[in-house]
């Protein structure tokens, strides 16, 4: 009995201590660069007046926040635009001047607020279902792509009527 206890103690306790001290935490990822909040990827050209795009969101939450996805989609179309790819044209931002975001902060804060007007200009395709391959785990982060349709023409008109951006062709006589 004493011998068995001693053998067990000599082998397994140090082994356990060694393993615990040497193994790295499973899920920690060292990030050398800042992770973007979201990215926009071009999808096949949307029906007239709309942009069809895939919004890639980075989050530690495995379940997507659909309101945030919608907010990112509208924000991206307004201020960032997106690059095209083979056979699909990219789009410039509706608000190309970054100063307007600051100058009209009051308007945009209300526009993007909880339940704000931005919700009227975006739909999630297939009720926000995630396609195969569009949910990716990167260490402790989740990168999730959701296809959205942004009513770009209506969005531009809304900003023009609010005086945020000039009407197209304004200033030409």
């Amino acid at each position: 009995m004493k011998i068995i206890t001693k053998i067990t103690g000599f082998f397994f306790v140090p082994l356990f201590v060694l393993c615990v001290s040497s193994c790295a935490p499973v899920r920690k990822v060292e990030r050398a660069v800042e992770v973007p909040r979201f990215e926009i990827e071009a999808m096949p050209t949307g029906i007239k007046g709309t942009y069809l795009l895939k919004v890639w969101t980075y989050s530690t939450n495995p379940m997507p926040d659909f309101k945030q996805v919608k907010r990112n989609a509208v924000y991206g179309v307004l201020f960032e635009g997106f690059k095209g790819k083979r056979g699909i044209a990219g789009q410039k931002p509706i608000v190309p001047n970054p100063k307007i975001k600051t100058e009209k902060a009051e308007f945009f804060n209300a526009f993007f607020a909880e339940g704000g007007a931005y919700l009227n200009f975006v739909d999630l395709v297939n009720d926000g279902a995630i396609a195969a391959g569009d949910r990716i785990r990167m260490g402790d982060l989740f990168r999730i792509g959701i296809v959205s349709s942004v009513k770009a023409a209506e969005l531009r008109k809304h900003l023009e009527e609010a005086g945020i951006i000039p009407r197209l062709g304004e200033g030409f006589y």
Partner: protein, 419 residues
Amino acid sequence: MKYYLSYSIALLCLFLTAEVFAQILPRHHRDIHSAIYRRSSLYTLMVNDVDRNKAEVIKRSFKGSPMPDKFNDHNLSIRVFNPMHYSASNTDLPDIINNFFRENRIGQGLVAKWFNRDGKGYFNINLVAERGLYNASVMQAEIARFSARGSSLLADAGAELIYNTFVVVNRFNYIPKEEIIDAASRGVNEVARLVNRVEAVRGVNLLLDLASDVAAEGYVVQAHSYLYKLKWNDSIAAVFYNNYWVDESSMYSVEEKQRRKLAFENSDIFQLEFVGFDAAWALLPATIFTQKTEEELIYIATVRAIDAVIAKLQREHDVFKTKAPLYTVEPLSAKIGLKEGLTNNCRFEVLEKTIDKNGRTKYVRKGVIRVDGQIWDNRFMADEERELTEGADNLPVIDRTHFRGRGKFYPGMLIRQIR
């Protein structure tokens, strides 16, 4: 007391050590060539060994067997061939099959069928578009709905299905029970020789079961199957479209049209490549109480053997495995159904796509789920049939298939059929 405490500590250390090792050892990674599932188009052929037992009955059974729902029917007019006509100096079946393909220009035939080639040599894309629309997943259909091109997007995607064109060449062997009993009496090795040592263990066990069942008459149909794939890539497609394509609206001269027609017929770029081989059994004990004729029993056994070998091909080749994203997790569901060949016995592994710190993409298994309850009928014209059914308004609308299983699952995880 001291001993019990020591033992408890030792056991706890052992347990925790095992847990730690489980954490740091590589997890279950899966090879996935593509997360997107595309319907395969299948052409099935039979090697007609006219001297074999029940050859004529098996030939009729094979020609009458239905194409599984999971595949597009890509059968050409030739379904059966005699190997003696293609053996030349070689009796190896793969060489005989290659001779058959070459002499009958099967590669050309498969491409001609894709593009509905008529007597004048004109092509069209009607079948490509039709299969593209039918292949589309719910997600792809929804994206098309929001796009400017609409369903044309899906129709164009049909061209990608040409890459998944397969030929399965079957050779059947009918073994009556009397032969099995005779072989069994001479030993297990004789039974194994009877089955040509293909799938020897399971085959031998099945045959021994039949031999020992004194009440059964018994029919065993063994199917050996050779799988081939049509070689189709961007280069071949470019040659086809640029050099051989002609249709009713083409502005070519009569001479040019004739030249293109002949160029397609004489081209040697349409080839088939060998993918793999498999074998399967259908065991059909016929009791003394059966009302079925011998031909009916052999038909059933033949069809079962074909289904069994196709099921094995599905398990062993990734391109045939149904894949889809998890649609919901409470309850578990996916937008796949009878069109993808689902049955109540189907099992799927749930995979999470990961990118490691080196940028490598891997799929990690998170669990296994199985079909639970009613399967969505998403086959061609299923919606119209449902509407015409009496009392359809009172029937629940089924627009997805439910699964059961345990694990930490999230919408968007890939599910891949394993059985």
